[in-house]
C-alpha cells in the first residue's frame, strides 16, 4: 500500500440481518492521521459498521479494508492493525490496571521486557500512570476509558476505532478525552470515533460521516456537510427588552417565507429564525424592524454546529424515506 492510498476504505458495505438492513451500501475512505466522527441516531448502523471494520461481524456485501488488509479475509493481520475500544469496557474483577494491560500485551505476543516499556508508554500517553496498582473494577468511568484507550494502543496499531469513548464522562473527563484523541492523531494514528456527544466530535474530528438507517447521508468536513445538507442559516435578533418581542416576531414572520420557523425567546429577549434568504434580502428586514421602533442591539447569524447539521440531515430525510427497519 502506498502512502497516498486511504488507510480505511469501505466499498458498498452492506449488512443484512434477515429482513433488516443494518448497513446499506456504505462507502467512504479515510487517510492516515485523520479523525473521522461517525454519528447517527440510535440504530443508524454505526456499531455494525465498526464491528465489520474490526472483524467481529461479517458483511453481507461489499468490502472493507484497513491499510490494504481485507477485514474479513485476513483477520490475523487485521488484529495487529486495529485497536478497538467497544462501548462496554470489558473489565475483569480482581485485576489491577497493570495486570490488565500486561494480559492484553501478552495476548498480542509482545515480549515481557518490551511489554513493560510499552505499558509505561501507553499509560503516559493516556495519563493513567497513577492508576497502575488500582483494581480495574474500582476505577471511575473516565479512568476506565483512559485505561481502555491505553489497552488499544498496546500493540501500536495504525488505526484506532473507538465506540462511544465520551459516553458517560463528566465535562472535565470529556475535555481530557478530547486532548488524548488529538494527541493520538499527532502520533500519526488514524481514528474512527463514534459518539452521541456531537459538540465533542465537532471539536476533534477532521471528517464527519452521518449515518441514518444504515445509509451514509453525509460525509466530509463540517463546513462541507453544512454546505451540502442545508441551504438555510440561523439568524438571531437581540432586543433590549422583551416588551417588543411579540412585535419583532410578527415583523420577522411577515417578512419571511410562510413556512419559516420563527422562535421568540422571552428569557433571552431574542427572536431566532431560519431562512434561505441572502444578506442583501435581509437588509430589508433589518430596515423594517428599525422603522417599527423595535429597540434591537444585534442582528446576527448564528454559526452552525454539528448538532444543526445532524438535525438537518435526519429531519430532512425523515419525511422523504419510508422506514426500512432499525439497525442494531
Amino acid at each position: 500500500m502506498n502512502d497516498s492510498s486511504p488507510v480505511v476504505a469501505l466499498r458498498e458495505l452492506t449488512k443484512v440481518y434477515g429482513r433488516l438492513t443494518a448497513l446499506d451500501r456504505l462507502s467512504l475512505a479515510l487517510d492516515r492521521g485523520r479523525i473521522l466522527g461517525l454519528i447517527g441516531p440510535n440504530g443508524a448502523g454505526k456499531t455494525t459498521a465498526i464491528k465489520i471494520l474490526v472483524g467481529l461481524a461479517r458483511p453481507s456485501g461489499g468490502s472493507a479494508t484497513i491499510a490494504g488488509c481485507d477485514c474479513l479475509r485476513r483477520p490475523k493481520q487485521l488484529k495487529r492493525l486495529v485497536g478497538y475500544m467497544p462501548d462496554t469496557f470489558g473489565s475483569y474483577d480482581n485485576m489491577r490496571v497493570w495486570e490488565y494491560l500486561d494480559f492484553f500485551g501478552a495476548a498480542f505476543g509482545i515480549r515481557r521486557a518490551a511489554r513493560k516499556r510499552r505499558i509505561d508508554e501507553v499509560m503516559a500517553i493516556t495519563g493513567s500512570a497513577s492508576m497502575r496498582d488500582r483494581y480495574v473494577e474500582s476505577l471511575s468511568h473516565g479512568m476506565k476509558q483512559r485505561v481502555g484507550i491505553a489497552r488499544t494502543l498496546l500493540h501500536d496499531p495504525s488505526v484506532l476505532i473507538l465506540d462511544e469513548p465520551a459516553n458517560g464522562l463528566d465535562p472535565e473527563a470529556r475535555i481530557e478525552m478530547r486532548q488524548i484523541l488529538l494527541r493520538l492523531a499527532e502520533l500519526g494514528k488514524t481514528l474512527i470515533v463514534s459518539s452521541h456527544i456531537l459538540a465533542e466530535l465537532s471539536r476533534v474530528c477532521d471528517l464527519i460521516a452521518i449515518l441514518n438507517r444504515g445509509r451514509l447521508e453525509a460525509f466530509g468536513t463540517l463546513a462541507e456537510i453544512m454546505k451540502n445538507v442545508s441551504q438555510q442559516r440561523t439568524m438571531e435578533v437581540q432586543l433590549v427588552g422583551r416588551e417588543h418581542l411579540a412585535t419583532a416576531a410578527e415583523i420577522v414572520r411577515g417578512y419571511l417565507e410562510s413556512d419559516a420557523e420563527v422562535v421568540p425567546s422571552p428569557a433571552e429577549a431574542t427572536v431566532r429564525f431560519r431562512t434561505g434568504k441572502a444578506d442583501r434580502e435581509l437588509v430589508g428586514l433589518l430596515a423594517r424592524l428599525a422603522m417599527s421602533h423595535v429597540d434591537l442591539t444585534q442582528f446576527r447569524e448564528i454559526p452552525t454546529d454539528l448538532e444543526d447539521a445532524f438535525l438537518s440531515v435526519t429531519n430532512s430525510l425523515r419525511d422523504q424515506q419510508t422506514p426500512t427497519g432499525v439497525a442494531s
Binding site: 461481524a57 486495529v82 462496554t88 470489558g90 500486561d102 496498582d133 488500582r134
Partner: protein, 552 residues
Amino acid sequence: MGYAIVERELLGTMRTGRAFALQVATSIAFAVLIVSRWPGNATVELSGAQAREVFRLFAYGLLAILLLLVPAFPATSIVNERKRGTLALLLTSPLPAWSVYAGKALGTLLFASLLLALSVPAATAAYAMGGISFTAEVLPLYAILGAVLVQYTALAMLASSCANSTDAALRSAYGLVLLLALVSLGPHYFLQGKPGVLPQIAEWLRCVSPVPAVMELAGHGDVGAFGLGAAAGTPGRFLIFAGVSIAACAVLTIARLNAFLLDRPRPQGIVTDDRSAAERWFRRCVFLVDPQRRKRGIGPLANPVMVKEFRTRRFGRFHWLLRLVAVSAIVSLLLTYAATSGTIDWGVETIGGMMVVLQVALIIVLTPSLGASLISAERESGGWELLRMTPLTAASILSGKLASVLSTLLLLMLATLPGYLVMIWIHPPLRWQVWQALICLGWMALLAMLLSAAVGSLCRRTAVATVVSYGLLGAGCLGTMLFWLGRGTSFSHSTVQSVLTVNPMAAALTIIAAPGFTAYTLAPANWWWMGGLCLACSAVLLVQTWRLTRPQ
C-alpha cells in the same frame, strides 16, 4: 408495597424460559413415574407394597428436585439486584428492609411452591393406589418438603446478601445445601450403635438433613443403617431445626439489607510491596502466595489466558486453594491415621469411602462455579469481544481457560492424596484399589470441568450456566444415589447397578468396597461412560468456542 416486589419477582421468574422448562420437566418426570409403576393388570394388590414403592420414589424424587433447584433462584436474588444497581433503588424507597426481604422471599417461594404443586397429581395417584395413609404419610411429607423449601430459600438468600458475585452466591448456597443435607449425615453413619455422647450428638446432627425425615416417612430405615432400628421422630426434629434456621437466616439477612450493604469504599489498590517490612513478613506467613503482591509480567511460555483466569478469580487464587488443600489433606491424614492405628474401628474401607465423598464434595461444589463462568462471564462482561480482537486463536483461548481449571482441580485432587498414600503404606494390598478409585475421581473432575465449560459456552449469563451445571452434576452424582437408597425395596439389584454405572462417585465407592457398595461392580463400565460423556462435552465446547470466535 411489598406486594409489588412479590409480583415482580414471581413474574420475572415465570417469564423466563428456564422456569417454563423446569415446570414441564417436573410434570413429565412425575407423570412418567406414575405411568411406569401403575398396575398393568386388574389384580388388586392388597398389601399396598406397590403403592408404597411409588410413594417412596415420588418422595425421594421430589426431595432431590427441591435440593437441586430451590437454592438457584434465591441465591441470585439479592446479589443480582446489587450488581444491577437496583438494590440501591429499593433501599432508598420507603419500603422497610423486612418488606423487601419478605417480597423477594415470597416471590421465590411462590415459584418453588408451583413446582411442589405440580407433584400433587402424582401424590394423589400414589394415594389412590391404596396402602398409604393421607394423614400419617402424605401430609407429613408435604410438611417436610415445605419446610425444606422455606429453609433453603432463607439460607440461599443469606448467601446472596453476603456474596459479591453471582457465582460466589451460588457456590455458597449449594455448598451449604450439600453440608446440611448430606455431610451432616456422615457422623451418624459412622458412629451409630456406639456408646458415648458423640453418637448421641451425631444422631441429633443428622436431623439437620431432611433425608432421614423423608426416609422415615417413606418407611425406610436410615442412611446406611447397619441393621439396627433407627430412632424415630426425625421429622419432628428436622422441623424444629428448620424453624430455628429459617428464623436465624431471615433475621441475619434483614439485618444486612440496609444502606451499609452498599457503603463500601473502592479498593485503594495498595500492594504488599509498598507496605512496611513487618507487614510484608506477616502477610508472607499468612498467605504463602500473597494475592496483593505486585506481579511480574506474564512469562513467555505461559498461556496469557490461563494466567488471567488465575489472577481474576477471587476463590480460585492460590492462597485460598492452598489453604483448602492443606485443611483437606490434614483431615484425610487424621482420618487414615485414626483408622489404621486402631483409635477407631471404622475399617479402612469406611475411611476410604469418607475420603471419596470428601473429594467428590469438593469437586461438585467448586468445579461448576469455576468451569461455567469460563466463557459465559467473558461474554457477560464484554471481555469476550476484547479477547476476539487479540491474535489468540480459539484453541489457545480454550486451552488457557481449561488449563486454569484443570490445575485447580489437580490441586484439589491432591487434597486427599496424603490420606490414600498413608493407607497404601500401612496396607499395601490396597494400592490397586486406591489407584482405581483415583482414576474414577479423575474422570469425575474431568467430566465436571468439561460439562460446566460446555454449559457455560451455551449460556449468555453466568448465573444460569452455573445453576445448570450444578443441576446436571448433582443429578448425575447425587440424584442417581436415590436409586441406591431404594435398593432391595423399590429397585432391583440390576436397576441400581445400571443407574450407578454413570456415577463416578459410586464407582469409586465400589472399588474401595465402602459399606453398602460391595454388591456392585461398576469400574470398567463407568470409565467408558465417563470417556464418552467427556468426549461429547468436549465436542460441544470446541464447536461452540470456535463459533463464538467467528465474525457474526
